[in-house]
């Protein structure tokens, strides 16, 4: 692609951001708040050292969740079930991981493998149902979300409730110290701040792995051509059924990592407060980042920044909901502008190609 076209494709999210802030400003004006002041407070709060650590910690599971969703999107599969998949994987991994002690790296690796395997299997059910019974993955994954959260609530109160202990709280036993991931504060010389989750490294590796898998391997090629043109993919000898299952399992495998940042770095057990909604937020980040590993990274950081910085608003008498609206504006508008830019690029290429024909 020519350099000018590359710039054009970057302009969509920037335009969307500008318009979204404009629209949110109008709403703030309408309710009698000063938009410039509001955004200033948010920004100042958001770039404090404490906030930055929190933003990075928040963005880790968001990013991985977006990648899980994006694997499906790339072949035209809508895995709405990342939510259920990561919760199921997290609770099983949290429980199994708490039952034994080995040296730290092996312990953590083992927990990761359990979570990935469980989530992948949970996602495989949807793949199986689509291939064998023709049930659309959106329906089955939504249903599996309900079933998954139901099973989790049941087992939290009936299976894992620390029988015999003093409290009988609905939670899994705590991970032994060998199963906890150390924070990165010492590495980056961050003193006096809260823990920077060590799972950051895993997220970065996942991003690189995702890029390699989708853009460099032949499996990724098959995923992408099936996503753009399933008919041509079939004529090229791809077995769509097999690929659907592979894609669902891969997507679910990534989903298994979503809950591990919070689990290994902070919670150390699965409780009723364990973060939910990350699977759905991942869909938004994947859309914003256009399934690209770099774009989704920026998207995850942006959403984490907005969430964190909006916490100061209540103290300043501005409704925090403005941040939710801002997120929604960005998403809606960016989707429109991606399409506008895409058409522009195609038009440009048609022009170049027809010039070639004339000469």
């Amino acid at each position: 692609m020519k350099f000018s076209l590359r710039i054009a494709s970057f302009s969509a999210p920037i335009i969307a951001l500008a318009i979204s802030f404009g629209l949110s400003s109008l709403i703030l004006l309408f309710i009698g708040k000063d938009p410039i002041e509001t955004f200033q407070i948010m920004f100042e709060y958001g770039i404090k050292g404490k906030s930055i650590v929190s933003i990075i910690n928040r963005s880790i599971p968001l990013y991985i969740s977006a990648i899980a969703v994006a694997v499906g999107f790339k072949m035209g599969l809508f895995n709405i079930g990342v939510e259920g998949q990561y919760l199921v994987g997290s609770i099983v991994a949290a429980f199994v991981g708490s039952q034994f002690t080995i040296i730290t790296p092996l312990h953590i690796l083992f927990i990761i493998l359990i979570a990935v395997a469980c989530s992948a299997m949970w996602a495989a059910i949807a793949g199986y149902l689509k291939v064998k019974k023709g049930i659309h993955e959106v329906i089955s994954t939504i249903m599996l979300n309900y079933i998954g959260t139901g099973l989790i609530s049941y087992s939290l109160t009936n299976v894992f409730d620390e029988k015999g202990s003093e409290y009988e709280l609905p939670r899994t036993p705590e991970l032994p110290e060998t199963g906890q991931m150390p924070a990165l504060n010492n590495l980056f010389r961050l003193e006096d701040l809260q823990d920077l989750h060590g799972f950051l490294f895993v997220a970065i590796i996942v991003g690189i792995f995702y890029y390699w898998l989708v853009w460099k391997t032949t499996l990724g090629f098959d995923l992408r051509i099936t996503g753009s043109n399933p008919v041509a993919a079939k004529f090229s000898g791809i077995n769509p059924n097999k690929l659907i299952v592979v894609a669902m399992v891969t997507s679910g495998g990534f989903a298994g990592l979503v809950g591990l940042g919070p689990l290994l770095g902070y919670f150390h057990r699965f409780t009723i407060d364990f973060p939910t909604g990350l699977g759905f937020a991942g869909i938004a980040v994947a859309l914003l980042g256009r399934n690209h590993p770099f774009g989704m990274g920026v998207g995850a950081l942006l959403f984490a920044f907005l969430e964190r910085s909006s916490q100061i608003l209540d103290l300043n008498d501005v409704p925090k909901e403005i941040e939710r609206m801002l997120q929604a504006f960005i998403l809606l508008i960016v989707v429109v502008f991606y399409e506008v830019i895409r058409r522009f690029i195609v038009k440009q290429q048609v022009k170049d190609a027809s010039k070639k024909v004339e000469t």
């Binding site: 391997t217 032949t218 051509i225 753009s228 041509a232 079939k234 004529f235 000898g237 170049d352 190609a353």
Partner: protein, 503 residues
């Protein structure tokens, strides 16, 4: 002259598709005006423009001598233009009456007024001498009757100009006669009829004027009495008839593909094809003739393993390939040019480098030991195809959608031939592309055949089929009904076997 429709220099282009260029056509009031041309000649685009379904890039349209600019079928209907599509738009679980008034009123909670409408519709029917039982359910009607419902529907909305898109394609001969009688009646009642077809006999029977389209251009408009069928065919196909040069090579004796009595049926028990057997020899082009929908498409798809077969055997280079997957078959030396390049052969929003790999993702040339794509080889191969097949493109990074139809097709043919297959299945290899690309593809197919390739050629273009093939087999109702040598067969003969008139 009293004109119903007058277009001036209408042009329309789509990315990668040749549609209409400078089409000027005059359609006289109260006449039957046929528009003929091959598939992809631009007839449908012109009709879509006249019916307001798409806007021309440039040019003017006059309807009843008034300048008109339609941006929706609704506006076209208001101007008195109605269209009967090839595929009927009827709700089968409603009665004829309900279908006719469907969509006339805005949704509301007041009484439908069926009685009032019934009377009005009966008046229209008697004006134009069209007959149908308004209380029948549409699902109980024959195809011809359904078509009549569509015509009444359009007339009831006040159409004075009727566009019929390939109206006889779905009818049996008796129904065709009935339709023609009705159309003549309509003409007497000052309705103008635009009749789109590629069946020349029918056109000569019914039309007053005939316009011929080819490659997006209007070649000529002539009066029926001043033209013969041969002249029409020449205008339609152009002077680009392939003239087979005498073969310098001979067909070899060994069978590349050998098909032994294969049968396939759909889940509901409808037979796609029954007991089909044929073989293609090394260095031979075997043509398959047949009206669309007679099983030939399914047969070739079963050779590459996309269509299942219930019984019979397929041998490729002496080996039974019944249980091989599509990928295994492609990799063992079968190449396939599907009939729809944009839907089946290419990924339109990917560049040419990616498109050259399609169908060959797993061969060593493109797949490294780490299961990654060998991009360098893909770039080299796409450059190779571009230069050998004269594909006009800025570079290998251009998206497939940016190329014209002819260049897309040259790229697909090049990709398949450069893979050095021992069997090539070419389905409509030159449909809807410019003459330059067409003759290049013909030349390449011939060359490859001379070098030993076995080719299975499916084409609706009978001149192409006769010109290129060494032998031709004819499909009719899911079976092979005739085998012919291409040396002594005319399109008319072939047409006779294809329609079941000759046996």
């Amino acid at each position: 002259m009293n004109l119903a429709i007058n277009t001036k220099n209408i042009s329309k282009s789509y990315p990668g598709v040749l549609a209409n260029s400078n089409v000027s056509v005059q359609i006289e009031k109260s006449s039957i005006h046929a528009i003929v041309g091959e598939n992809g000649a631009g007839k449908s685009t012109l009709m879509k423009i006249l019916y307001g379904m798409t806007k021309p890039d440039q040019g003017e349209i006059e309807v009843f001598n008034q300048s008109a600019s339609m941006s929706s079928p609704k506006e076209a209907i208001n101007l008195g233009i109605g269209m009967v599509h090839q595929h009927f738009m009827l709700a089968k679980n409603l009665t004829v009456l309900e279908n006719i008034i469907l969509g006339i009123d805005k949704p509301s909670i007041k009484n439908l007024g069926l009685k009032k409408y019934k009377k009005l519709i009966e008046e229209v029917m008697s004006t134009y001498s069209l007959d149908i039982d308004l209380d029948m359910f549409v699902e109980d009607l024959s195809v011809g009757e359904k078509q009549r419902v569509e015509i009444i529907k359009v007339l009831f909305r006040g159409a004075k100009i009727l566009i019929l898109d390939e109206p006889t394609a779905v009818l049996v001969p008796q129904e065709v006669n009935e339709l023609f009688k009705n159309l003549n009646n309509l003409k007497q009642n000052s309705v103008t009829i635009i009749f789109i077809s590629h069946k020349l006999d029918e056109v000569l029977e019914i039309a007053d004027d005939i316009s011929v389209m080819r490659a997006g251009e209007l070649i000529d408009s002539v009066k029926n009495e001043n033209v013969s069928k041969t002249e029409l065919a020449e205008m339609m196909i152009g002077k680009s008839l392939p003239t087979p040069p005498p073969r310098s090579t001979e067909t070899k004796q060994n069978k590349i593909i050998d098909i032994k009595s294969i049968t396939s049926e759909s889940v509901d028990g409808r037979k796609f094809f029954t007991d089909v057997s044929f073989s293609v020899f090394e260095s031979e082009i075997l043509g398959i003739a047949g009206v669309e929908g007679n099983g030939q498409k399914e047969v070739v798809e079963s050779i590459i393993g996309i269509q299942n077969i219930e019984s019979g055997e397929i041998f490729f280079n002496g080996e039974n390939i019944n249980n091989k997957t599509t990928r295994q078959r492609l990799e063992s030396g079968i190449s396939f040019i599907p009939e729809d390049r944009q839907l089946q052969a290419m990924i339109m929003d990917m560049n040419l480098t990616n498109n050259v790999i399609i169908g060959r993702q797993n061969i060593e040339k493109y797949k490294s030991n780490l299961a990654t794509v060998k991009t360098k080889n893909a770039i080299k191969e796409s450059e190779n195809v571009i230069s050998l097949f004269d594909v006009k493109t800025p570079n290998t990074n251009t998206l497939a959608t940016a190329l014209s139809g002819g260049n897309q097709q040259k790229f697909v043919v090049g990709r398949e031939l450069e893979d050095n297959p021992s069997l090539l299945i070419a389905s409509q290899p030159t449909r809807g592309i410019d003459i330059g690309a067409q003759s290049l593809i013909w030349e390449k197919l011939r060359q490859s055949r001379d070098n030993g390739l076995a080719v299975l050629l499916i084409s609706a273009d009978l001149e192409e089929l006769i010109g290129l093939s060494d032998r031709i087999i004819v499909f009719y109702q899911g079976s092979t009904v005739k085998e012919l040598s291409s040396d002594d067969v005319s399109p008319e003969d072939l047409g006779g076997y294809m329609t079941g008139l000759k046996k």
